[in-house]
Each structure stands twice: as C-alpha cells, then as structure tokens.
C-alpha cells in the first residue's frame, strides 16, 4: 500500500515507522529541513523536504496515485488544504488531523464533506476517549470503545449477588440501544434471545450507547442503578483535558481541572460551564493538597511534559488517590512508563500516538474487515466499511441472513453512531462493527464478499 504522511512530528513519525515496518511504502513530507534530515537516517521511508500544502511537493511525493494520504502536522489549515489537494490529485483515501476545537465546530459546519475527507481526527480527542474509558470503568477487565467512544462494549462475569441472576433477559428492562450480545456459559457460546435466563458465572458481553451503559450495566451487576457521584481531578488544561472533561461531565462526573496558564484557564472556564476550573500550578504539592486530591476517585495527569505527568501521578498516589492515570506524550518514554506504571501505582498510561494508530489501522488492511479486539472465549469484534459495490448496501439488517454467532454491534452512518436494529439498512461508506464467534468468521467474511444467500 502506498501511504503519504505529511508532518514528521511525534504522530507522523510514529505512524511512518509503524506502517513501514508493516511492509507499506511510506513517503514522509516535512517542512523543516533538520527534522526531515533526521528522519531520513532513522526511518526506512522516503522523506521529501517541503510544505505539504504545496501542489508540486505533493505531486513529487506521488499523491496522485497513493492509497492513503495522512496530513498530521500541528496546523489545522495545512492539514485540511493538503488533504483536499491530495484528494483532487487522485489520492484514494485522505485523512486529516485537526485540533479538537475543529471537531467541536462540526455541529455548525460539515468539514469532512467540504474537504472530502475519509476521516478527520484529533489525537487529543482520541486520547481523551481512551482515558474516559478507563475512568468510567475502574474495575472492568474488558471494555472496548467503538465508534470513537460513542458506543461501548463490556465483558464481565455475572456475580452471584446480582439481582439479575435467574431472571430472563426481558425482565431486566434494557432500553433498545443497550443489548446483551453474547453469553459464554460452561464452555458453550450462546447468542441470547429475550427469554434466556441469566445464571451465576455467565460471562456476559454487553454493548450500547455510552451514556446509557453506566446505568444499565451497573443494574446488571448489582441490581440497582444509582451510582454515587464520582469526582475526577485533571492536572493540566490542554486539549486532552478539555475533551476529557466534556466527556466526563456528560456522563455525570464531578470534574475539576487545574491549569497554570491564566489565559487558558479563562478559556476553559468559558468552554466548561459545569466544571470547576482552578488556576494553580498542578505540579506544586500545595495545589494538590489544597484540592484534597487524595480524596478524589480518579486523578488524571494530562500535561504536555511526561516528567511532570509522572511525578504528579506519584504525588497524587502518595496522597491517597485510589486511581491514577497519565498521558504519555513522548515515544521514547512510552515503553518505560508502560512497564513501570503498575509498579508505581499508575493504572494506565495513555499515548495519543497509539490511540491514533489504532484508529487508523482500519485504513491499512487488505482484508475486507479488521479485527478490533479478541474477546475471551473465542470471539472477536471486527469492523468493516460498506463499499459501494458491497452486496450488503441497501439491504435491511433483517434480510442479511447473518449466520449464528454474529451480532451487529454498531453502525456509523456519516457522523451518526448507533446500535443497529432489524429495520436499519447500510449504505456505501458506512462503517459496521460486529461481534463474531471464531466458528462463524469464515461464513461471515464470505457474506461480506458475496452478499447474503451464498
């Protein structure tokens, strides 16, 4: 696959290394000469020195015939212009990185369509989605966020003290868009119907819209749905913190953000009306003590400096914060922090680069589908794009003749993500997520290729 990456920053280099070691042809375009030269020595990729928003540079990089064009510089405008130019030259798929503010602006204007992008992502926002997943589910072993954090899939065993034990599914009273998709019971797999009775020890796979999941999954696990209000302290007020605070307040968390820059703090207070914004240096012990960080339910370090993040996490953990998360910005530290994290009491270290890579993987697969995650008990969550020539396009879900062991989890149409119902139809360009048992995988991929009834 021929891939062009514009921008040799943290994200660009990480992706370049990853794709080139995966056997793809990568061409890296970088404006700053020293940076371009440095990458030439470190990476097995073609490096072109020049601006990504200039046509002859893109032509030289081969944008007219590339399979995937990624514009991932720090500058929104450069990325959008480069992606549009590449598309006009004939790039098959274009992806632009933007800052989270542009994504927030999407409700007013459809940037994706205007710039004819296949994907517009913000690495800060993807990292925030990852963090939010950990924060919402402090003790869940398997949680997968789907459709960029709007739909969630959880897997957990049913405990004996759950009020749901011994009840058929229909009596638990789930709403339409939250479903128990799959049960593994005594080495057997069951795709449950409404009258299936739940038993102690069942390994349940539940998915649904994020805002509803918290409430209903708690009901399934304990029998009552009212959680206490949980408090989260975020150190640092960058874009990751902003996106994270917005997601968490939407889920009913009590969020405090500590940021040292006066102008940024004023901005945050305006953008986050339901969040307590504090103007203090989050690396100072005094500020953390003042906010009684030890008594919060979760502490997140999301500053630009990895050293600061690590140290504040240690401080917070020392003060008694039960749950500490950190962001890892630099690739050089990722491994060290990743392995040391559990030893020093940090539950998860989230890297924006890694979040981006996972989100982009679906563009670089030759298969018709891409495996998102393997689940315990012989099943996986896969996702695939519905292409224009796909036999699935335009057919209602109920007529797809899906084999036993396949459950549709999510359907993304344009920017709208939902749990598919029997009457929905897929159209070209949509992305579909499905939970597929190993035994059914072959048949399902045949249906993807040739359509139902084969």
């Amino acid at each position: 696959m021929k891939i062009i990456i514009v921008g040799a920053g943290e994200v660009g280099c990480y992706l370049a290394r990853h794709f080139s070691s995966g056997g793809h042809d990568v061409c890296l375009v970088e404006r700053s000469e020293p940076m371009a030269r440095a990458q030439q020595d470190r990476l097995d990729v073609r490096v072109i020195y020049g601006s990504g928003s200039v046509a002859h540079i893109l032509r030289e990089a081969g944008a007219d015939g590339c399979d995937l064009f990624l514009a991932v510089t720090r500058d929104d405008s450069t990325n959008l212009v480069a992606a549009l130019l590449a598309r006009r030259m004939g790039a098959r798929r274009t992806v632009a990185r933007v800052h989270a503010a542009v994504l927030r602006d999407e409700s007013v204007f459809d940037y994706r369509r205007a710039f004819r992008l296949d994907l517009m992502f913000s690495s800060e926002r993807l990292a925030a989605v990852e963090l939010a997943k950990h924060i919402r589910n402090p003790d869940q072993p398997v949680v997968e966020e789907i459709a960029r954090g709007r739909i969630e899939l959880q897997q957990f065993p049913l405990r004996a003290d759950s009020l749901a034990c011994g009840k058929p599914l229909r009596e638990i009273g789930f709403p339409d868009r939250v479903r128990v998709g799959w049960i593994r019971r005594a080495e057997r797999n069951i795709v449950p119907a409404a009258d299936e009775t739940l038993q102690e020890g069942d390994l349940l796979t539940v998915f649904g819209e994020v805002e509803l999941m918290d409430k209903y999954v708690r009901r399934l696990r304990t029998g009552h749905s009212r959680p206490g209000r949980r408090s989260v302290v975020i150190a640092g007020g960058g874009e990751i913190a902003l996106a994270l605070a917005q997601m968490l307040t939407a889920c009913g968390f009590d969020v405090r953000v500590i940021e040292a820059d006066a102008e940024r703090v004023a901005e945050l207070a305006y953008l986050l009306p339901r969040v307590t914004v504090i103007h203090a240096d989050p690396t100072s012990l005094e500020a953390l003590r003042e906010e009684r960080v030890g008594e919060c339910d979760c502490f997140v370090a999301a500053m630009p400096d990895d050293e600061d993040n690590l140290m504040t996490c240690l401080q917070a953990g020392n003060m008694g914060a039960p749950d500490c998360l950190t962001v890892v910005q630099r690739e050089d530290y990722a491994d060290a922090i990743g392995t040391a994290a559990t030893i020093i009491g940090i539950r998860a270290a989230v890297s924006p680069r890694e979040a981006v890579r996972r989100d982009l993987m679906r563009f670089v697969t030759a298969k018709r589908y891409h495996v998102l995650v393997r689940l315990e008990g012989g099943a996986q969550v896969i996702h695939f794009a519905v292409r224009a020539d796909s036999p699935m396009a335009g057919v209602p879900v109920s007529q797809l003749e899906l084999p036993v062991g396949v459950v549709l989890v999510a359907h993304i149409h344009e920017t709208d993500a939902r749990v598919p119902a029997a009457g929905d139809t897929f159209s070209a360009g949509d992305t579909v997520y499905a939970l597929v048992e190993d035994a059914a995988l072959d048949r399902f991929s045949r249906i993807l290729r040739h359509g139902p009834g084969v």
């Binding site: 004023a266 945050l268 207070a269 009306p273 914004v277 504090i278 103007h279 203090a280 500020a287 003042e290």
Partner: protein, 490 residues
Amino acid sequence: MNYAAVCRSLGGIVLLIAAGMFLCLVFGWIEGFAGIAERSHSAGMTWGSIAALSGAVILWFAGRNGPREILRKEAVAIVGLGWIAAGFFGALPFWLGGHGLGPAAAWFESVSGFTTTGSTVIVDLHAVPRDLLLWRGMTQWMGGAGILVLFVALLQQSGVGSRSLFRHESSAREEESHLAHARGTAATLWSIYLGLSVVCFLGLWILSGDYFAALTHAFTAVATGGFSPYNGSAAEFGSPAIEWWIMVFMALGGLSFMLMALVLARKWGRVREEEEGRVYLIILGTATAVVALSVWLARDDLAAADAIRGAAFQVISIMTTTGYVTENYDQWPTLARVILLMLMILGGCAGSTAGGIKVGRLILLLKIARQEIIRTFRPAQVFALRLNGRRISPGMVPQTLFFIALNTLLIGAGTAIVALLEPQFGMVDCLGAVVATLFNIGPGFGSVGAVQNFAHLGDATLMFLSVLMLLGRLELFVVLALLVPALWRR
C-alpha cells in the same frame, strides 16, 4: 469638542421634537374644525411648535459648517444636551398654554414625559386641551425607544458617531445585536416599537371605541411611560379586557427589543439562550402571585379574579416602570408594597423601554456574588461569567457593580435632599418620590403615591426630581459626564 458638530446634531433632534409638535397641532386643528370635541386646541401648542422650529433652524445654522464626523466626546455631549433640549422645547407648550403651570412645573412635566417617567403636576387633566394631552403622550412615545435612536435611524449618517450615540442612550447591550450598522439596529428597534404601538392602538380602539383614549394610551403603554389623559389613570376605562390588553403591551415594552428583533429574524438558537427575558417573566409571575395572595387575604370582600387582575396590573405597571394605576396600592398590605418598591428599583430588561437597574444587572450581580462567595474558600477557581449565553466583557463587571452602588448612593442622598426641600414629607414620601423619578416609574408612595400627583411640590424639588429622571433614563454616566470640565475643552 467640536461645538459646531454638536449644534448641528442638536438641531436635528429639536427638528424631530418640532415635527412631533406639529403632528399634535394638526390633530387639534382637525378635531376643532370637525367639531368633535371642545377644548381641542391649545395656544401653547402653536407657540411651542413655532419656537421649536425656530430653535431647530438656529441650531442648524450655527452648526452648518461643522464636520460631519462625530467623535466620542461630541456623542456624549449630544446625548446629554439633546435630552435637555428635548425637555426644554417639550415644556414650552405646557408653559405657554396658560394652564396654570409655572416654568419649573412645565419643565418637570416635559422631562417626566420624555424620560417615560409619568409623574405629573397637572391636577385636573380633563381641563387640558386635547392636542396638549396628545403631545404629553407623544413625548413619552418619542422618549420610550429613544430620541437619539430615532435620530440615528432617520437623520444620522452611518459611522462611528451613530454607534456611540446609540450606545450612550440605549440600555441595550450592543454586542447582542445581529445587525452590523448602528443605523440598521436603530431602524429595526424603531420598526418593532412602531409595530407594537400600532397593534396596541388598534386593540384599544376596538375595545374602548374611543380613538383618542386608544392613541394616548398606546403612546404611553409600549413606551412604559404611564401618562394617561384620565385623572383616574387606566382605571377609568372600567373594563377588565382593556386592562389585560394594556398589561400585555406593558410587559412586552419591558422585554428587550433586541430579543424581539431576534425572534423576527428567526434566530431561535439565540432566543433560546436568552436568560434575562426568562428571569424577567419569572419575576413578573412570582411577584403577581405573592401580591395577589397578600391582597386577597387582607380583604374579605375581594373576589379572587379581581385580586389577581389588580395585582397583575400593578406588578406589571410598576416593574416595567410604566406607572398606570388601577388600584390604590398605597392601601395594600406592607408585604405587597415592599415587593412593589423592590420591583420599582429592579425595572425591566436591558434594551427595553423600561427603567430601573435592569434584570440583566441583577442576574450579573448574583453571579458575581456566587463567584466571590466560592472564592472565599477556593481563591484559585476561575469563572467565566455569561449572560444570555454569551461571555461578558471583563469591563462589564466593575461597571455593573459601580452602577448599582451609585444608584444606591443616589437613593440615599436624593431622599435626604427631598427631605430638606420638603420638610412636611414623611420618610416614605421622600423615598417614594426619589425612587419613582430616578427609576422612571411615575407614582411613588404616600403623598406622591398611586392616586396622588406632584403638583404640591416646590419648584426646587421639581427641578431636582427632573434631574433624577434624566440620570435614570440615561443610566447615570452620560449626565454625570456633562459635569466634567474635560468634556467641554476644545
């Protein structure tokens, strides 16, 4: 300061006043010619219009060579002097008409009209010719949406100057307008104002059958002025339907005209964010309920429906600073009277025709208070103050606090001065007179209360109260700026 530029603009303002007078004059001639009513025409109207027209010509002549561009200093002077000129020329028909009003009383009546206060020194309105009564209503109608706003909409060329003229007269927060030109904004506001007045007039005409009463009340209801051609104010209609109809237009007059412009432009997103209008309506509803209950419980012979109507009318009339009277609220229980006093000070929304410190400033004050209380235990917390869903500029916080503090001081100092000038007054009378004029309501409490007038006050008191009216109408700063010598230096 360029005096020629100021004179030219003042000429334009006085021309508008003269035009209003001529309309009243023509109205009186036609009525007199058709023999519709006795006492249709007053000599004061004729002399007044001639004087105003001459004044306009002289001012224009004096400023004919002045630059067209108006800068900040000139704008402040034009607004302040323009209102004084309006009061002066507007007073001439009352004084020259020979209805027993001295110069101070005529000036008081005229300023009370233009500032939409509605306090009157005329004891028997039935003895006053009809064209003068119409002029009395028209002063309020012109002053309601603003003489300067009308001036900008009709006569002023677009430019920086019209923007400052607009800003200094209107209580509207300028950034809430969705139009680019000050002139466009002014024209929109006046069109809405005119439209409301016409609908109010037609409804009153149909309900009462009397075009003169309909016209004079339509002039003063939407303007939230409160001059009525009847001695017994709006109660003399004796019709619940008319009272409800008037209530609707007083309440609309107390809402922001910017908000109505947004409704007409179908910008629903912005309308939904409107905080001030929502709080205003909630306060109106709550105050009506409490007052109605307190009045109803205090009297055995009162039907619930009458209590509600009377309370609603008085609450709306007082909160929008109109000052029509259907009930003698001076005899209401103390709770009801205290609520009315608080509503007098509070007033309507910014950008409306109402006076008072405005609901928006109260909201802001409460938000600032909350912020300061939280800061006592968490000094590092940062807040973003919003009003109507928009971030407010940092300068607005001290300005709001200063405005409220200065008004409080003025109430205290004014009460003391009235007590000095009118030794026979009780404390409530003095306070009532100051609040009623400073916040442009009209009737106060006690001897200047609901069914009383200001005729028994001395000339000095009348002059002092008319200054308060101007201070209240122009929201202090412009009038106070006239006292600073630096403004007048070349």
